[in-house]
């Protein structure tokens, strides 16, 4: 099936995710599209960023050449400081995650299942992978948002009935934001609820690119970023 309209860019996915953040929330952003979300936080919303590298609160990426090896994010990028930070060790960084003290995490995914299972760490073709903090975030954050392209370049669905890639966590995903749709994962195995589609897309075209059945929300709307 040919796409009925262009897919959204990575920045637009990040922009849509950023509208989910509530004022004062503690947020952990994964590598890739999730990292971009910090550029689009709505005015009036102050967030506290958490990083597995052992910090709470931080500024934007440091300017080129200004990096300090003692101030990095979980992706190894250099950050700039802000007032009101806290540093701590890995045991504490993950105590915060596992203990339910992170309000929202945004993660990339290889696959998400109809029950919210997440697979995002292991490519079977490679045979070896990095788990990093993904499994901790999947079980620990109060809300897990997946931000990803709806399909890989090869076109097969990433949203599937059951994940075929090794799992990161079971039933942990709450919301999926992609370049063609926004889909809620209903609790207790209630399945997937299509709540928004990208401009020019619709129920059929999103469903055709999805490997699990979508329930259509009575409040279904075209995605806007106003």
């Amino acid at each position: 099936m040919i796409d009925p309209a262009p897919r959204l860019g990575r920045e637009v996915i990040a922009m849509r995710v950023a509208r989910e953040f509530g004022d004062g929330e503690v947020v952990n952003l994964g590598i890739g599209i999730p990292t971009l979300c910090s550029d689009f936080v709505p005015p009036g919303v102050q967030l506290i960023y958490h990083s597995e590298s052992g910090l709470l609160n931080c500024g934007p990426l440091a300017d080129d050449g200004e990096g300090d090896v003692d101030l990095i994010n979980a992706g190894g990028q250099f950050l700039s400081p802000v007032p009101g930070m806290a540093y701590f060790d890995s045991a504490e960084a993950f105590a915060m995650i596992r203990g339910g003290h992170i309000d929202v995490t945004v993660l990339g995914a290889l696959q998400v299942s109809a029950t919210g299972d997440l697979a995002n760490w292991f490519l079977p073709a490679r045979g070896v992978g990095n788990v990093g903090g993904a499994m901790d975030l999947a079980v620990g954050a109060k809300r897990v948002i997946v931000a990803m392209e709806h399909n890989p370049r090869t076109g097969e669905p990433k949203i599937v009935q059951d994940c075929t890639y090794p799992l990161t966590g079971r039933g942990c995903v709450g919301l999926i934001v992609t370049d063609i749709a926004v889909i809620e994962v209903l609790p207790d195995g209630g399945g997937l609820l299509l709540i928004e589609y990208a401009p020019g897309w619709g129920v059929e075209s999103v469903q055709a690119n999805t490997g699990a059945e979508l329930t259509v929300s009575p409040d279904l709307v075209e995605m806007t970023l106003a």
Binding site: I31, S51, E52, S53, G54, L55, G65, G67, D68, V69, D70, L71, I72, G75, G76, Y87, F88, D89, S90, A91, A93, F94, A95, I97, R98, F122, L123, R126, G127, V128, G129, N130, V131, G132, G133, A134, M135, D136, V139, G140, P166, L167, T168, G169, R170
Partner: protein, 247 residues
């Protein structure tokens, strides 16, 4: 006698590490918080069949992770390339890029190194358990995944948890900014990461530091690793405090 845990050289600091030792290596993966000179001394010592425990297994060379542009990274790869490592316990062992494998991945594919992959939070917690005399604990992390295969699980309040065990090491090589002669350590910024947990989990903990001060030189409120966890301290040469300029 006044307690002074200073040793005078990196060579001396690692001299009793032997073939088959289990060695923790501090830091997150980048330049900060990593005991570069202890790793080089361990390479020069040449002991083999080591198990190394760290967040990564040396990912900086192919990816530049956490290193300033134009600086040649030093990390676990110096030991792996030298054929000294038979097993790695890590959460992030390979390069983030499939097309740029690190020394570990090549050795792993060649069947030369075993891997125990552990979720990052579980790795940190297993070290803390070792340091704190906790034999094992139940964590929700990894439940229902392939990293829980073969492990005991148990439900508490309807949720599944995995039983994970304390993780010790014969030696912990850690990196701090400041030590006092008693062995109290203070770290800088995000370079803390696994260092305090390893310091507590290592039977012999050796700290590579930028400066050594007299007792009282570290604010007692700001000691991140108290002296009971540290057996030896060794100072980097002046001029290498930034973490990257090495002799």
């Amino acid at each position: 006698m006044p307690i002074d845990k200073t040793v005078n050289s990196f060579t001396e600091a690692v001299s009793d590490i032997s073939d088959g030792s289990v060695v923790m290596i501090g830091g997150f993966g980048g330049a900060g918080g990593m005991p570069h000179l202890l790793m080089l001394a361990l390479r020069d010592l040449g002991v083999r069949n080591l198990t190394i425990i760290g967040n990564t297994a040396g990912i900086a060379a192919p990816t530049g992770f956490g290193w300033p542009d134009g600086v040649e990274p030093i990390d676990h790869a110096v030991l792996i390339e030298n054929g000294q490592v038979s097993k790695v316990i890590a959460s992030f062992p390979v390069s983030g890029s499939v097309s740029r494998p690190n020394a570990f991945e090549e050795a792993y594919r060649a069947g030369e190194i075993d891997l125990e992959l552990v979720p990052q939070g579980t790795l940190a917690e297993r070290m803390r358990a070792a340091g704190a005399g906790i034999a094992a604990f139940y964590t929700p992390t990894g439940a229902g995944t392939m990293l829980a295969e073969g492990k005991e699980t148990r439900k508490f309040d309807g949720r599944e948890y995995v039983l994970e065990h304390a993780l010790y090491a014969d030696y912990a090589l850690v990196r701090a900014k400041t030590a006092d002669t008693l062995g109290n350590l203070a770290y800088a910024g995000t370079s803390r990461t696994f260092n305090p947990g390893m310091a507590a989990a290592g039977r012999v903990t050796i700290a590579e530091v930028d400066e050594i001060v007299a007792p009282g030189g570290i604010d007692p409120e700001r000691v991140d690793t108290p002296s009971v966890y540290v057996q030896r301290i060794v100072m980097r040469p002046p001029g290498s405090e930034s973490g990257v300029a090495l002799p």
